[in-house]
């Protein structure tokens, strides 16, 4: 077999035009992606998008129908999973129940031919790092969920793999543990210098852990970018919806020309969009407004939009109000608990659909500078006039952009 090499020395993982089919279904469609050494890349997407298949393909458990996987510059086609220098951890932990935590963690070391004392030393070291050195003698049945999860992570890390694949490792732990690991993992991984591909369906985890996020939808990468780029400049309406809780408000609009610029109408109020979006005038569009960017206002505010508050629901430390416009369009407004709500009238009841709530009238203000505009037909974001060139560059220059970020963690 010919072993092609991939030249960029600072690229740990490169996927080149990967396609994978199951029967007639194409589950991965021409996926191209570079992960620089030391980067944590999050693979994010709804279930069925192909995230796990892509991870298995990197691991060598399945082979692609087309395209090439390069690990550390080497084409790994036909290379057995054990020989790929990869560590893996899974959401269900996948620990051997009859082995102690110590023995579980040590399993990848047998393949390396380490002797007993060297194995023990490496297990102790990684266990200390993950704060499970006191439970090494116990079997998985006697471990708490958090300890199991750390054991599984320790096993993935013990052989000091150059590439670590994590398949939704925090999915089955409670909120407190998940949050602890969310803070701890970046420190741990940065300290080890490991390159990580991290699969998750939780957008908060994706934003917290990813140096970059690759959004996979229906087997295609729809966008790759930093958490900031994905949240503030989502490529499509769907991506905008996947990031944010509560989800972004989407309203069908058709901008018209006015003396102030492109304008849309909401509850009788005229919202003027940025003049750089003038090319959207007359096109059927969808206006995306994040719930946290909307504020309540006094009725005499010149930009106030009259609404009816239908229901108020607590969401963690936020309050979410469901309001409707005069035409009955639903809008979600979210605010920190301590921020003032709609006027001073209290709203009781917590049903999302508002059946048990007492409705009250209020006014909101929508800052159009933060609004996103999508093409209603294609779902793609309508770029501001100055922005178009930049986005074009990004697509063409994805490889280079990735390289520049090597080793720079937020």
């Amino acid at each position: 077999m010919t072993q092609r090499t991939y030249k960029a020395a600072d690229t740990m993982l490169a996927l080149s035009n990967i396609t994978r089919r199951y029967g007639r279904d194409t589950v991965l469609d021409d996926v191209t992606l570079d992960v620089p050494r030391g980067e944590t890349l999050v693979l994010f997407g709804p279930s069925g998008a192909g995230k796990t298949v892509l991870l298995r393909l990197i691991a060598g458990v399945v082979e692609p129908d087309g395209g090439t996987v390069f690990i550390d510059g080497r084409d790994v086609h036909g290379v057995e999973p054990e020989a790929r220098g990869i560590g893996m951890a899974f959401q269900n932990f996948a620990l051997f129940p009859h082995l102690s935590a110590h023995e579980n963690i040590a399993t990848p070391l047998y393949a390396l031919g380490d002797d007993v004392s060297k194995r023990a030393a490496r297990v102790e070291r990684v266990a200390k790092l993950l704060k499970i050195d006191h439970v090494l003698k116990q079997n998985p049945g006697a471990l708490s969920n958090g300890q199991k999860q750390r054991t599984s992570l320790a096993r993935a890390l013990v052989a000091e793999p150059a590439l670590l694949l994590l398949d939704d490792p925090l999915r089955n732990v409670d909120a407190k543990l998940r949050f602890e690991m969310r803070l701890e993992l970046p420190r741990l991984l940065a300290g080890l210098g490991t390159t990580v591909v991290y699969v998750t369906q939780d957008y908060k985890e994706a934003m917290a852990l990813g140096d970059r996020i690759a959004v996979l939808v229906d087997g295609r990468i729809e966008q790759i970018g930093t958490p900031g780029e994905i949240y503030l400049e989502p490529a499509t309406r769907q991506i905008a919806t996947l990031f944010g809780d509560p989800a972004i408000n989407l309203l069908d609009v058709e901008p018209v020309a006015s003396e102030h610029g492109p304008t849309v109408s909401l509850s009788g109020q005229q919202l003027v969009l940025d003049s750089s979006l003038a090319h959207a005038i007359g096109r059927p569009c969808v206006l995306g407004i994040r719930p946290e960017s909307i504020g309540f206002a006094d009725a005499d505010d010149p930009e106030a939009i009259p609404v009816t508050v239908e229901a108020e629901t607590p969401l963690n430390e936020k309050i979410v109000d469901l309001v409707t416009t005069l035409r009955g369009r639903e809008i979600l407004v979210s605010r920190p608990v301590h921020m003032p709500g709609p006027a001073s009238t209290s709203v009781h009841g917590a049903s999302i659909r508002g059946a048990s709530a007492h409705s009250t009238s209020a006014h909101i203000v929508i800052p159009t500078g933060q609004a996103l505009l999508f093409d209603r037909e294609t779902g793609r974001r309508i770029l501001a006039e100055g922005e178009q060139r930049q986005a074009g560059h990004r697509q063409a220059g994805q490889r280079q952009a990735g390289h520049r970020q090597a080793g720079h963690r937020r």
Binding site: P46, S47, S144, N145, D174, A175, K176, F179, E180, R182, L183, P186, R187, Q201, D202, Y203, K204, M207, A208, L209, P227, G228, Y231, T241, L242, F243, G244, D245, P246, A247, R290, E292, T313, P314, L315, N316, E317, S334, P336, V337, H348, G349, A350, S351, I352, R353, A355, S356, R410
Partner: protein, 391 residues
């Protein structure tokens, strides 16, 4: 009137050879029309409790009554409950539609009525496209929703839902939470939900029972759990991100309260910032645990300098972990906070936002300016509780 009473219930597994107390002297009452979440980590006793209510487990000691009727010795089918349990599987030889409508068919509801109600239910749970399929040919998440539909469609004295959305993806879960709550409320159904997901508990439940080690830690509304945690366990378990805890030695010097923390860090407040009751608590404590919610930690130009360990921006908020007084303190800001590992931010705590706990046993002593409820927030009877919050 309460719809479910759990009175002094204990569950001991394997009592002869290797006794394990899964539930210890549990008292819990649920009012008619209320939705209650049993919240806790795995092994806390929440599922054992639900299984005893369902009749799948014997009660070692105590009594369970549903709608005023002692059901402790009744078989599951005789208890008047509808349930969606993990592993309580769909009938394989029936389609999803037949599974969901089965109970209505047994109750001799007219065929057109069954069709109409199954359609509405399937629409609500977003499974209308798989009604003709058999259970073996649908995904785990679809099976879970079909099981949930089968439970929700029934008229019952009590609905029991065990991790009903555990297998669904986050967006779908967020959507269905609202719809399920609306559906239960509209029909005035009483329901118990077992979950380890506090977002789900907060969004769905009128009241939350927090359990740990087989013991009820607190039973209250989501607001009570947030503002008046009964002890350090509840305080740090409920809330996302979890509450910060600092141990302090309080010293009152003239008109100043000085809190001595680890690492030679002190927090000074005017004595007037605290109520007389809290001054007394501070004066009589040599050591005290202070809880402060990450959302209440102020970051900005004033306050004590702390070094950033992690700064994560989540779109609508920043989560910062900083080194402070020998520990890691987490702060949440609702704007994007600049700064990276090693940079200094200033943090401050308002006296109103401090929760005070006994450093030894973890019981709440005071919250903000108020002293804690002596009952520790454990309100046995929601109808008569001081902060019933029911309408």
């Amino acid at each position: 009137m309460s719809q479910l009473d759990i009175v002094d219930v204990t569950k001991i597994y394997d009592p002869k050879t290797n006794p394990v107390a899964a539930v210890k002297s549990l008292d819990l009452s649920i009012g008619a029309g209320d939705i209650v979440a049993l919240l806790g980590s795995s092994g806390c006793g929440k599922t054992s409790t639900l299984r005893m209510v369902a009749g799948f487990e014997d009660i070692t000691h105590g009594l369970i009554s549903i709608a005023g009727r002692d059901v402790s010795r009744l078989a599951p089918a005789a208890r008047g409950i509808a349930m969606a349990f993990e592993g309580y599987s769909l009938y394989p030889p029936m389609t999803v539609r037949e599974n969901i409508g089965f109970a209505l068919q047994s109750a001799r509801v007219a065929t057109e009525e069954i069709t109409r109600r199954v359609d509405a239910m399937a629409n609500m749970l977003a499974i209308e496209s798989i009604l003709h399929r058999y259970p073996s040919s649908i995904s785990g998440g679809q099976q879970q929703r079909a099981g949930l539909a089968r439970a929700l469609i029934r008229e019952a004295d009590l609905h029991l839902l065990d991790e009903p959305m555990g297998q669904l993806e986050p967006q779908l879960r967020a959507l269905l939470r609202g719809r399920i709550k609306h559906y239960l409320k509209e029909r005035g159904s009483t329901a118990i939900l077992v979950t380890h997901d506090q977002t789900e508990a907060n969004a769905l439940a009128d009241r939350i029972a927090v359990m740990e080690n087989g013991t009820l830690q607190q039973y209250g509304t989501p607001g009570e759990l947030r503002d008046r945690p009964a002890n350090l366990f509840t305080g740090t378990f409920v809330g996302e991100p979890p509450m910060n805890v600092l141990t302090a030695t309080p010293v009152i010097e003239g008109e100043c309260v000085r809190l001595l923390l680890d690492g030679n860090v002190t927090l000074d407040y005017p004595l007037g910032d605290f109520s007389v009751a809290i001054r007394d608590i501070l004066a009589s404590s040599s050591s005290i645990a202070i809880g402060i919610r990450p959302h209440a930690v102020r970051t900005g130009a004033s306050g004590t300098g702390a070094s950033i360990v992690v700064n994560q921006w989540l779109g609508d908020q920043s989560h910062l972990a900083v080194e402070f007084a020998g520990t890691t303190v987490v702060a949440v800001a609702h704007e994007r906070v600049p700064g990276t590992r090693g940079d200094t931010v200033h943090i401050a705590f308002s006296p109103d936002d401090l929760h005070w706990f006994d450093a030894e046993n973890g019981r709440a002593l005071a919250h903000g300016r108020e002293t804690a409820d002596p009952a520790g927030g454990l309100i046995a009877d929601p109808a008569n509780g001081p902060k019933g919050g029911r309408t």
